[in-house]
């Protein structure tokens, strides 16, 4: 301001009251907003310390799960250890310096099994959620945007949705040989329905907005309308849904294994680790076999849930204040 004042003092009245030339580019550039949706979402998301800590924790946990076998001094998750004194399996050895999380009832290293199990479970969760999201988006977008398909898809949805998902998953895993592939297939088969319905509802809300009408007037093909106009608007909501589905899938993997339809014991997963732990739960000296896998499941689930919810808050433009 002071600079302006000195400039003013230097000028005579005559100069001050002289017309200045009209500059249309100066007029055109007066209003400019630097707001960016994704930048603001990210800023709001990262602004809370608890969210940042949860995020770092989850990233570390995922990295560790992936890299664990490559660290030095790690044991194989399937090797059965022999007690050198008795020459028999090292059953239910309590946690200690050699076996950090102890051994299970047949003498395998629980530490190695937990991380191997986490890998398996996360693989199932991520692959099945990703594929059901892709299927859900494709079908949901067509269902929501193409009016002619609405009736047909709604009827199909009603039929599928009326079969209890748990029963369906149990049936599939029962009929097919239990394996990672079967579990992923079973999860996808039931998960995409909910996802498709959810996407369809979102699309219907924005379907008749004027910019979509404009695209129709310009002759834009349906595929490009969906990819360019509709999906970018709902991507944040879909990301939230994905974040919340992962703990759900982990939960149902645990459940299926718990009722005996999950993965065979040779492939460790969080589900069968918890199942094994449950069997010896009542024996106080062996409770650790349930506690350790349960804690890992809880940590992952809670981290995904809370991050998902924080992201939902951050992606709401009303919170971009």
């Amino acid at each position: 301001m002071s600079k302006v004042m000195t400039k003013m003092n230097k000028m005579s009245d005559e100069e001050l009251f002289k017309f200045i030339e009209f500059d249309s580019s100066r007029a055109e550039s007066t209003a400019y907003s630097g707001y960016s949706y994704w930048k603001s979402t990210f800023k709001v998301f990262m602004s809370r310390r608890s969210t940042r800590l949860t995020l770092y924790f989850l990233i570390l946990l995922l990295l560790f799960t992936l890299l664990q076998p490559y660290f030095p001094g790690q044991k194989s998750p399937t090797e059965i250890f022999i007690n050198p004194e008795t020459g028999r399996q090292l059953r239910s050895h309590p946690p200690g310096a050699e076996f950090w999380f102890g051994t299970n009832t047949i003498g395998q290293d629980l530490w190695a099994r937990i991380w191997s199990g986490t890998r398996t479970t996360l693989l199932i969760a991520i692959v099945s959620v990703t594929s059901s999201t892709v299927i859900g988006i494709v079908i949901g977008a067509l269902w929501g945007y193409v009016r002619a398909l609405d009736r047909v898809f709604t009827e199909i949805y009603n039929v599928i949705n009326n079969i209890p998902t748990t029963v369906l998953r149990m049936l599939i895993t029962y009929v097919l040989r239990p394996s990672i592939g079967t579990l992923i297939f079973a999860m996808c088969l039931t998960n995409w329905v909910g996802m498709a319905k959810w996407i369809r509802n979102l699309i219907i809300i924005i379907r008749d907005r004027e910019y979509n009408l404009a695209s129709r007037c310009l002759g834009t093909p349906t595929r490009r309308v969906i990819v360019k106009n509709l999906l970018p608007q709902i991507v944040s909501v879909v990301m939230l849904d994905v974040a919340l589905s992962i703990p759900g899938v982990i939960g149902s993997e645990v459940f299926l294994t718990y009722i005996g339809l999950g993965l065979p014991v040779e492939t460790p997963s969080l589900g069968n680790l918890i199942d094994e732990g449950r069997r010896v739960m009542m024996n106080l000296s062996q409770t650790y076999q349930l506690v350790f896998p349960a804690v890992v499941v809880a940590l992952i689930t809670i981290a995904f849930y809370s991050l998902g919810n924080k992201f939902a808050d951050a992606s709401d433009p009303r919170n971009h204040v």
Partner: protein, 673 residues
């Protein structure tokens, strides 16, 4: 005005140097930059300004209803001997809000509780503020309802808000405000969401109530026609400050601030066909940055060096009239203000119509017995009922009607978004409705383009301007290389007066007027022959409208375009359209050349529309007589109505009996002329 000169006016509310700030996305926004104003008891003051000028914030600060991220930085608001700007507790505000100062909002549907009867809602206000109970309260409710012009109030007390029409709902909202028995009533855009005919009735009602309840009313509006109708005094706001304040006559007839000049002269009603409208370039300033000097300077054609350096003080022109501009300083050069008289414009237009006979080519669009239905086939809603008209090459055809009249549906039927239930649409002699061949479909997509009403909703927020503008090009000319496409986008942006580098930005970075021009660029890049403009200016600020209208008419002259211009505003139409069709409830009631329609409106609905339009002219507004259209006057049980050409090129929907009456009337009017 007369009252004021007789009695020394008493100041009821006094604002001094009010500064209000908001914190938004980590930045500080100065919404009000030191506003001062006196409000006199019993007057009606209109605050005019564009969106973002701070007019709503200003009034909300009187009742402590600023959004939670806003605060009063400094300044005083004196009411009844206390400085209410110092209020911090909500109990303080509750004593004031409603009881002393009440507010009526724009949208009646969102300000009523849909789960309670209107009687209960009015009663609640009575019990809270006037302490009435039981039978006395019930009687008062009915009295207030009949005061706001609701027929059979005894019955309607028990109705829910959804059982009322838009205008009636706004009457109920006003009734609730009145029930608090306030001294000051703030009406925040009270009629913007309503149709013109309803708008006129609500304004009439407010004037009556002001008299009966001895109210002081503040109107917040962007519509200068409304201002001319209701206001004793007018305050013009720009960028968080009152730049000019005076009596209604002073501001309209002898405006002194260059912004007021620009605002008044850019009104479409002042335009003359064939000449560009006066337009204010650019957009209002960004209030995030500190403003030096006069906020209007970058857009001001009369800007002086000092405008960029120091903020002007108020200069007094008369005891009631002051303006904040350096042009009034004795050292400033003398300038003659532009002519803003609406009468001259009307006369020049009529002369233009007589002298310049525009010749139109062959029929471009033919609409034959078009009907459009919504809903299922068992219980269809007839949006457009048996409509026929032709549009000639090179003309601007205006389609005027209120909300729900089916005008937008007709436009959308032509671009094939809403399929017709009956009838057909021909383009250049070929049928384009129903099932058509792929080649014709391709050609039509390119030749017919649409411009949408709301520039905020009609651009895809998540795509860059580059994609938005080139979208149609990708569909029609997939053979173009990326460089060629970019070339054409830059060219189209330059054509609509935008900078080519805007292509890499996202739509949210632009103001409403710039966004609407992006929408125009998107249509023009297709090189169309026929453009349907669906209310292209009604969502824009007054100062921006002229820019868009000028652009549209320049494009018509350069490229020989044909327009179908859809609007609810007959007065704007007068300066745009060559021929006008008036549509009511899905039926076109009258169609004729523009000047003929304004000179000899025949159908009672056209007459009602014409009488209801608010003109920015206080003299004609304050003395106007409102005509109300009641469809029940037509007796069509035996004598069925038909489409009659009552004079050459003047069509009207009437039965034989009415036709005879209209003919007599025409003959009489011609005799007088």
């Amino acid at each position: 005005m007369e009252q004021q000169t007789k009695i020394e006016p008493e100041v009821i509310l006094c604002v001094k140097d009010l500064v209000v700030k908001f914190s938004l996305r980590g930045q500080e926004l100065t919404a009000l930059r030191g506003v001062s104003m006196d409000l006199y008891r019993g007057e009606s003051l209109a605050i005019v300004g564009e969106s973002g000028s701070g007019k709503s914030v200003f009034c909300k600060s009187f009742i402590g209803m600023l959004d939670k991220n806003g605060w009063v930085e400094s300044g005083e608001i004196w009411y009844g001997g206390t400085d209410i700007a110092k209020y911090e507790k909500s109990e303080d505000w509750i004593r004031l809000r409603g009881k002393e100062i009440a507010i009526v909002f724009q949208d009646p549907m969102t300000s009523l509780n849909p789960l309670q009867t209107v009687g209960v809602q009015i009663r609640e206000a009575l019990e809270l503020h006037q302490g009435l109970r039981g039978v006395a309260a019930q009687e008062k409710v009915i009295e207030i309802l009949s005061d706001v012009g609701i027929l059979e109030p005894e019955k309607r007390v028990k109705d829910y808000p959804h059982q009322f029409s838009g205008g009636m709902r706004q009457r109920v909202v006003i009734a609730i405000a009145i029930a608090c028995n306030p001294k000051i009533l703030i009406c925040d855009e009270p009629t913007t969401a309503l149709d013109v005919t309803i708008q006129a009735q609500i304004l009439e009602l407010l004037k009556q109530l002001q008299h009966k309840y001895n109210l002081t009313i503040i109107y917040i509006t962007h519509d200068l026609g409304v201002v001319a109708n209701v206001a004793d005094r007018v305050a013009v706001m720009y960028a968080g400050d009152i730049v000019e304040i005076g009596t209604c006559e002073e501001v309209f007839e002898t405006p002194r601030h260059p912004y007021t000049w620009a605002l008044l002269s850019s009104l479409p009603q002042l335009g003359v066909k064939g000449e560009p409208l006066y337009s204010i370039e650019g957009t209002p300033p960004n209030l995030f940055t500190e403003i030096y000097g006069d906020a209007f300077a970058p857009r001001n054609r009369y800007a002086m060096q000092i405008d960029l350096l120091e903020r002007p003080p108020y200069f007094e022109i008369s005891p009631t009239h002051k303006a904040r501009t350096w042009l009034l300083d004795p050292r400033a050069p003398k300038v003659t203000p532009p002519n803003t008289s609406i009468a001259t414009a009307i006369e020049r237009n009529a002369r233009h119509a007589r002298e310049v006979k525009k010749v139109f080519g062959e029929k471009l669009v033919e609409i034959r017995n078009l009907s459009v239905h919504f809903g299922n086939s068992r219980k269809p809603f007839v949006a457009v009922n048996n409509v026929s008209f032709d549009i000639y090459k090179g003309e601007t055809f205006g389609l005027v009607g209120e909300s729900g009249s089916g005008k937008t549906t007709i436009g959308r039927a032509i671009v094939r978004i809403n399929p017709p239930a009956k009838g057909e649409i021909l383009y250049g002699g070929k049928r384009i409705s129903g099932k058509i061949g792929k080649e014709l479909d391709h050609a039509i997509t390119q030749k017919i383009q649409m411009i949408f009403q709301d520039p905020m909703a009609s651009l895809n927020e998540r795509a860059k301007v580059d994609y938005i503008v080139s979208e149609g090009l990708i569909n029609i000319h997939p053979e173009l290389s990326k460089a060629e496409r970019e070339d054409r986008v830059q060219c189209a942006l330059r054509d609509v007066g935008l900078l080519p580098e805007f292509a890499s930005r996202f739509p949210h970075e632009f103001s409403g007027g710039q966004r609407q021009r992006i929408g125009v660029a998107r249509s023009l890049i297709m090189e169309p022959e026929f453009i349907i403009a669906d209310e292209p200016i009604s969502a824009l600020d007054v100062s921006i409208r002229a820019q868009v209208l000028n652009l549209l008419s320049a494009m018509q002259q350069q490229r020989g375009l044909t327009y179908l211009f859809i609007s609810h505003d007959l007065s704007v139409m007068r300066f745009i359209a060559d021929r006008i069709a008036v549509i009511h409830k899905g039926v076109i009631v009258e169609l004729s050349d523009t000047e003929e329609l304004f000179a000899h409106p025949l159908h009672p609905y056209t007459r009602a529309l014409l009488s209801a339009i608010p003109l920015p002219n206080p003299k004609s507004e304050k003395s106007k007589v409102l005509e109300v259209y009641d469809p029940a006057i037509h007796n069509y049980t035996v004598d069925k109505p038909s489409w009659v050409e009552i004079r050459p090129k003047h069509f009207i929907m009437c039965n034989e009996h009415e036709c005879a009456l209209y003919r007599k009337k025409l003959a009489r009017e011609n005799g007088e002329a």
